[in-house]
C-alpha cells in the first residue's frame, strides 16, 4: 500500500515534469522569438451599443471638478447629483465617471477619439461635463497673462469646445448634455474685478457655443461662488469643498427631469 503511494507520486511527478519542461520551452520560444503577427484591431461597433434598457446611464466627462477633487467624501458634484436623482426615481442609475484631473479642452478632444469612450457616450442617457477651468487658470498662473494671450486662449477654447459638442452630438444624438460653467475661485482677492470679468467672458463664450447644438445646456455656477467664496472652497483655494460640490450637484440635479429622460 505504502509502496503504491510512492510509486504513484513518482509517476505523477515525472509525467508532469515533462509538461513543465514543455511550458518552459514554449515560454522561452514565445518571448525570445515571437511570431511577428500583431493582432488586428477588432472593435465593437459604436452604434451597436444598446440603450433604453430602463437603467439611467450617466456619463461624466471633464476635469478635476467632475472627478470631485477637494471633496473629502470623494463624491463630487456627480455624487450629490445622483443622490438627488435617487430621490426621484427607483430605476437603477449607472454613473461612468471618465473625468481626468488637470484635463484641458484639447485633452478632452483627444480622449473623445478613443473608441471605448465613444461607446460609453453612445450608451448614455445623460452627459454632464466640466471643461475649461484648466485652460483658463492653468494652476493659478494664467490670470497673470496679458490681454492678448488670454484672448488667444479663449479662441482656442471656443474652437475646442465646439468640436467637443459636435463629437458628443455625433456619438449620441439625443442625450441631454449639461456643460457646467466656471466660477471664480479668486473672487475674494485684490484682483477680483479683473478675474471675475475674465471668467464671465469665458462662460459667455461657452454658452454661445453650447447654444449652437440641440439639447446642450450651459449650467452656470458663477453665482454659487460669488458670495462667501471661501466657505465653499477646499484648502487649495481652487477646488470646491464638500459644501461647494453639494451646491453644484443640487443645481445640476434640479435641471433633470427623469420622466422625460426615462421614456
Amino acid at each position: 500500500m505504502r509502496l503504491g503511494v510512492v510509486g504513484l507520486v513518482i509517476a505523477a511527478a515525472a509525467m508532469s515534469a515533462a509538461l513543465w519542461l514543455g511550458g518552459l520551452v514554449l515560454a522561452v520560444q514565445d518571448q525570445l522569438a515571437p511570431p511577428s503577427k500583431p493582432p488586428g484591431q477588432t472593435q465593437p461597433s459604436v452604434h451597436g451599443a444598446k440603450k433604453g434598457d430602463g437603467d439611467i446611464d450617466i456619463v461624466a466627462l471633464g476635469d478635476s471638478l467632475t472627478r470631485g477633487t477637494g471633496d473629502e467624501s470623494g463624491k463630487g458634484y456627480v455624487g450629490y447629483m445622483v443622490d438627488e436623482l435617487r430621490k426621484q426615481t427607483e430605476a437603477p442609475i449607472r454613473v461612468t465617471n471618465l473625468a481626468v484631473r488637470g484635463l484641458r479642452s484639447d485633452g478632452l478632444l483627444r480622449q473623445l477619439g478613443q473608441p471605448e469612450i465613444q461607446r460609453q457616450i453612445a450608451m448614455a442617457d445623460l452627459i454632464v461635463m466640466t471643461i475649461g477651468g484648466n485652460d483658463l487658470f492653468r494652476g493659478g498662473e494664467a490670470l497673470r497673462l496679458n490681454e492678448k494671450e488670454l484672448n488667444a486662449a479663449k479662441r482656442q477654447y471656443a474652437a475646442n469646445l465646439d468640436r467637443i459638442f459636435a463629437m458628443l452630438r455625433r456619438f449620441n444624438t439625443d442625450a441631454v448634455i449639461l456643460a457646467i460653467g466656471l466660477y471664480n475661485p479668486f473672487s475674494d482677492l485684490g484682483d477680483a474685478k479683473r478675474t471675475s470679468a475674465v471668467v464671465r467672458d469665458w462662460n459667455f463664450v461657452a454658452a454661445e457655443v453650447a447654444a449652437r447644438y440641440p439639447n446642450v445646456v450651459a449650467v452656470p455656477t458663477f453665482d454659487l461662488f460669488a458670495l462667501h467664496v471661501n466657505d465653499y472652497l477646499y484648502s487649495d483655494h481652487f477646488h470646491p469643498n464638500q459644501e461647494g460640490y453639494k451646491r453644484i450637484g443640487e443645481r445640476v440635479a434640479s435641471l433633470i427631469t427623469l420622466t422625460e429622460e426615462n421614456r
Binding site: R2, A13, S16, L24, L26, V28, P34, K37, Q41
Partner: protein
C-alpha cells in the same frame, strides 16, 4: 540508482510533507477564491455593470487620475504608465484581460505565487533533505553503504526535482478545481496578449501577439517550475552546509523576503539585478509589467537564476563529497 531515488521519495512521502503542502495550497486557494469573488461583486456593485469594457475603461481613467498626482515616486509612475498603456491596448483590441473563470484565477494565482509562495512550499521539502540526516545522525547509516557519496546526493536531488514537479501539479490541479466551483471551469481558449516590452516609460507593442489562455498558463507553469527548481537547489546547498534545518529555513526565508522588498526599491541600484531574489518574478515578463531594474529581460533573469542554481549545485556536491562525517 533508481532504488536510491525511490528510497529518498519514500522518506519524503513518509514525512507526509507533500500532503501538508497540498492542504496548505487547498486552504489558500479557497481563501483567495472567496476574496476574488467578493472583489468582483464589489466592483460590479460600484460600477453597476458587468460590462468588462466599462470596467476596464474606469480602471484606465483611475490610472490617469493617479498619474496626475505630483508626489509620486518615479518608478511607481513608470510602472503605472506602462500598465495604463497596456490596458489601453487590451481595450483597443477588444480583449478582456480578466474574464472570469477558473483558468483566469489559476493564471493570476501562479503570477502571485511565483516569487514567494511556491518557493516556500519547495523549501518545506528541500530544507531538511540533508540537514535532518546530519542532525539525527542517520547520515552515517546512509554513507556506510557501498555507494558513492555523489550518488547519494544525486538521488536526493532527483527526489527533490520530483517533489517540485509534484508541488506544481498539486498547485495547478487544486487552483483549477477549487476556484472552478465559484467561477466556472471554462475559459481555456480565451485570447490573451503577450510580448509587451517596457522601455522606460513607454511600452513597445511591436511584438505583441495573441495566444490562447491554456498556452499562457502552460508557459507560466513552466517558468514557475524553473524558479521553484532553482530555489530548491539553493535550499539543498544550504541544507548540505548547515546541520540545523532551522538555520536553512531562516537563511532562505530572509533571502526570499528581502527579494520581495528589494524589488520595490532597487531601481537605482543597477548591480542588484544579479541577485537571484529580484529575478524570481519571471511571469511578469509574459505580462509585460515593468521590471524592477531597467534592462532586465526574461533571458537575463533566467540566466542569472540558472547560474545561481548551477553554482549552488556544484558547491553542494563538492562539500558533501569532502565533508568528514563522524
Amino acid at each position: 540508482m533508481s532504488k536510491l531515488v525511490y528510497n529518498e521519495m519514500l522518506k519524503i512521502v513518509r514525512k507526509k510533507r507533500l500532503w501538508v503542502i497540498a492542504a496548505i495550497v487547498a486552504v489558500l486557494v479557497a481563501l483567495f477564491t472567496y476574496a476574488q469573488y467578493r472583489e468582483t461583486e464589489e466592483l460590479r456593485k460600484r460600477l453597476g455593470t458587468t460590462d468588462w469594457r466599462t470596467q476596464l475603461q474606469q480602471q484606465i481613467v483611475d490610472l490617469q487620475n493617479r498619474l496626475q498626482s505630483p508626489s509620486m515616486s518615479e518608478e511607481w509612475r513608470k510602472y503605472l504608465q506602462i500598465r495604463l498603456k497596456q490596458q489601453q491596448y487590451y481595450l483597443e483590441h477588444n480583449v478582456n484581460p480578466s474574464a472570469p473563470g477558473a483558468p483566469t484565477f489559476m493564471r493570476t494565482f501562479i503570477e502571485n505565487a511565483i516569487d514567494l509562495f511556491l518557493p516556500l512550499l519547495v523549501m518545506v521539502v528541500a530544507a531538511d533533505l540533508v540537514s535532518s540526516e546530519a542532525s539525527a545522525g542517520t547520515i552515517k547509516l546512509l554513507l556506510v553503504r557501498p555507494v558513492k557519496r555523489w550518488k547519494v546526493l544525486l538521488s536526493k536531488y532527483i527526489a527533490l526535482l520530483l517533489s517540485v514537479s509534484f508541488i506544481m501539479l498539486t498547485t495547478a490541479v487544486l487552483s483549477y478545481a477549487i476556484s472552478g466551483l465559484v467561477f466556472g471551469y471554462g475559459g481555456f481558449h480565451l485570447p490573451l496578449l503577450t510580448g509587451f516590452v517596457p522601455q522606460g516609460e513607454d511600452l513597445n507593442t511591436d511584438n505583441v501577439h495573441m495566444i490562447p489562455q491554456w498556452k499562457y498558463i502552460l508557459m507560466e507553469l513552466g517558468l514557475a517550475a524553473f524558479v521553484s527548481t532553482v530555489v530548491g537547489t539553493l535550499t539543498l546547498m544550504l541544507s548540505v552546509l548547515f546541520r540545523s534545518t532551522a538555520a536553512v529555513m531562516g537563511v532562505m526565508l530572509a533571502a526570499l523576503i528581502s527579494g520581495a522588498i528589494l524589488s520595490n526599491m532597487v531601481s537605482s541600484w543597477q548591480s542588484a539585478k544579479y541577485l537571484f531574489m529580484v529575478n524570481l518574478r519571471l511571469t511578469d515578463y509574459l505580462k509585460g509589467a515593468a521590471p524592477p531594474i531597467e534592462g532586465m529581460t526574461l533571458g537575463f533573469s533566467m540566466t542569472v537564476l540558472a547560474v545561481w542554481g548551477l553554482m549552488s549545485l556544484a558547491v553542494a556536491f563538492v562539500v558533501f563529497a569532502r565533508r568528514d562525517v563522524y
